[in-house]
Symmetry: C2
Subunit: 369 residues, 2 copies
């Protein structure tokens, strides 16, 4: 196994680098004052600093469950397992399903693929299209693997989003094959027009739905969660316990305090959606003006723009752009086969408008001279 | 695999239960004011809330390395990997050495044994004595396994501590067999007379030394670490990254701030050592007076008293004591074979002096009536 290309890039760059690489949220939008207020209240309590239970704080799980139920996906605290970020949720599930075959999208999330590899899962890649996975191929693959990993909302890296019709079709196929869906949803709340119904909500007993506060609130907290049947959660708990006993108690308590007034998060999400949409629009405008040969689909949410050049080797471009203080991730890093040396995933959330313009100008200059 | 007996017990008890079960530190000794001060400073900074690197904060690793060097064990930041508690360190190493044979002590730490089981390591148990592992059996076992997991300081559960002579012998045996030592040291700083030199310090390239702030500062932070050669750390990083990207950034920053004046922790450790020693002495006095048939060795540090009755089934006792609001862990939970229904591990750090007296009085009454 190789190290994550993105994590390696993140360690090479400094404060002056314009990074379109990682999936980092915009630091300037962290609700610092409210997090500070929650922290100040929490750190005074002695039990904040003690061990807590492996499933995660009951009150926090209860609040997360309420958010699901509010969205029409009936959920109780017992259906939630708190994890150390979504990445741990993926690792726990990879360990739970070790040695199995799994149907995934192509391209797919590197962190998930690494966890699958570490746990000896054999991935079967199916092409993802603008409106979701290729249904015919998916149906055929799931009959064999009985297990699938999908990102329905603003997929990483492609930004593709499943249509309602494909969501229902996927749910039906999973259920009729008595299969299991792992639905990864870290970007669900970063939507630009409407919030989609999750595939998991159609098949609550055949699914693991993964959420995270890393993209919306703060990645430093390392708080993600798995929503599943109580029976499944009880089984995952054995693995969770063995991996780190429980996720950071301080983070859980601060998050629980922050969520005590649910509208606080909703208002923050509106700010985020509004800002990220504007950045996305601006990024697209800069691409269209300065790199017109880069073809992509405009995202409906999330953090990424994904596309490709006709005839540019993006690894050569990256080598040059790194020296000029601009980084991005080649699309090939997200593929298990079908080598693609012309594609790029750009992140647009972590740079300012000025940096977006400057970064794309540099790329344009490198390409056109 | 079964769930951790201790974690299950911890979830059954309430605020009124007297718990001699878990390895919980005394809440009343948490340096709340100083942690609060560190937190207040940290939560204002925007980068506290962003993603950070997988190895862990450089400054924090550097401070941990300095503590090693001060103790005569030459260490640099590159030799340290921050983990989500010691438990994650154990899981990462279990994954790294998956499918191998490993020599362990009998009894041994449940959390380590569970991680070994999950990663298909075959454990070979060697009896531990008052001054460390049985050297003859250890030598024979390590020739085959080439890998060992030991807790040299105030072992969990036995509280046994390796003599200097056995430390040197173990180091020599590991080195001469070109084997690897995993030395787990969460209790090292809770000593009652002197601090012992770690076995790892004799064989820096053949060892993984594990430390933690859970027993000394706060388990809620979930910050542990592995000290190893840079080459080893680089390999473990691949697994760490796949398990949770990085440990809680908020915790790491607060801890780094707290450690910025190194004497703060040293003074806190003195308070802890003094208080825990008094509690241990009191616990022993109560045992001697009220349960004279319970035979044990007086601990030189750590958190536990371990011993056994002549002819009492401690599972029957536990069933009754649970109903009367007192819990402990039967010794059998720490064994892979050699069933022991008469042994108990008592924790003495998490109860007040009053609770210790009351709890042992209840056990005595249950036994003697």
């Amino acid at each position: 196994m190789k190290r994550s290309f993105i994590r390696e890039i993140l360690e090479c760059i400094d404060d002056t680098t314009i990074s379109f690489a990682g999936g980092l949220p915009d630091e300037s939008l962290f609700p610092i004052k409210q997090l500070q207020k929650a922290s100040n209240k929490i750190v005074r309590k002695r039990d904040t600093w003690q061990y807590s239970i492996s499933n995660g704080l009951f009150d926090l799980r209860d609040k997360i469950a309420s958010r699901y139920t509010k969205d029409g996906f009936d959920t109780k605290a017992d259906n939630i397992l708190i994890t150390t970020g979504s990445q741990q949720a993926l690792y726990i599930l990879a360990r739970y399903f070790q040695n199995k075959d799994i149907t995934i999208e192509s391209p797919s999330y590197i962190g998930a693929m690494n966890s699958f590899k570490l746990n000896n899962l054999d991935t079967k890649s199916i092409k993802i299209e603008d409106d979701g996975i290729d249904i015919k191929c998916f149906k055929k693959s799931i009959q064999n693997t009985k297990l699938t990993y999908l990102i329905a909302d603003y997929q990483n890296p492609s930004s593709f989003t499943y249509s309602m019709s494909k969501r229902k079709k996927v749910a039906n196929i999973v259920k009729s094959n008595d299969a299991i869906l792992i639905e990864d949803s870290p970007y669900t709340d970063i939507y630009f027009d409407k919030k989609y119904k999750s595939i998991s909500s159609y098949i609550p007993n055949n699914s693991f739905h993964l959420g995270s506060f890393s993209k919306t609130l703060s990645p430093s907290l390392r708080i993600g969660y798995i929503r599943a049947s109580k029976e499944h959660i009880d089984e995952l708990l054995l693995i969770k316990e063995s991996i780190d006993l429980h996720s950071c108690g301080l983070s859980q308590n601060i998050l629980n305090e922050y969520l005590s007034k649910p509208k606080k998060l909703d208002k923050h999400l509106e700010v985020l959606q509004d800002n990220y949409k504007k950045k996305m629009e601006y990024f697209c405008k800069c691409l269209d003006n300065m790199l017109p040969s880069f073809k992509y689909n405009k995202p409906k949410g999330g953090m990424f723009i994904y596309g490709e050049f006709k005839d540019i080797d993006v690894y050569e471009l990256l080598e040059k752009s790194l020296k000029n203080g601009v980084v991005f991730v080649p699309a090939d890093e997200f593929l298990t086969k079908n080598k693609n040396k012309k594609g790029i995933r750009f992140n647009y959330t972590n740079s300012s408008f000025e940096e977006i313009k400057k970064g794309i100008t540099i790329l344009s200059t490198l390409i056109h001279t």
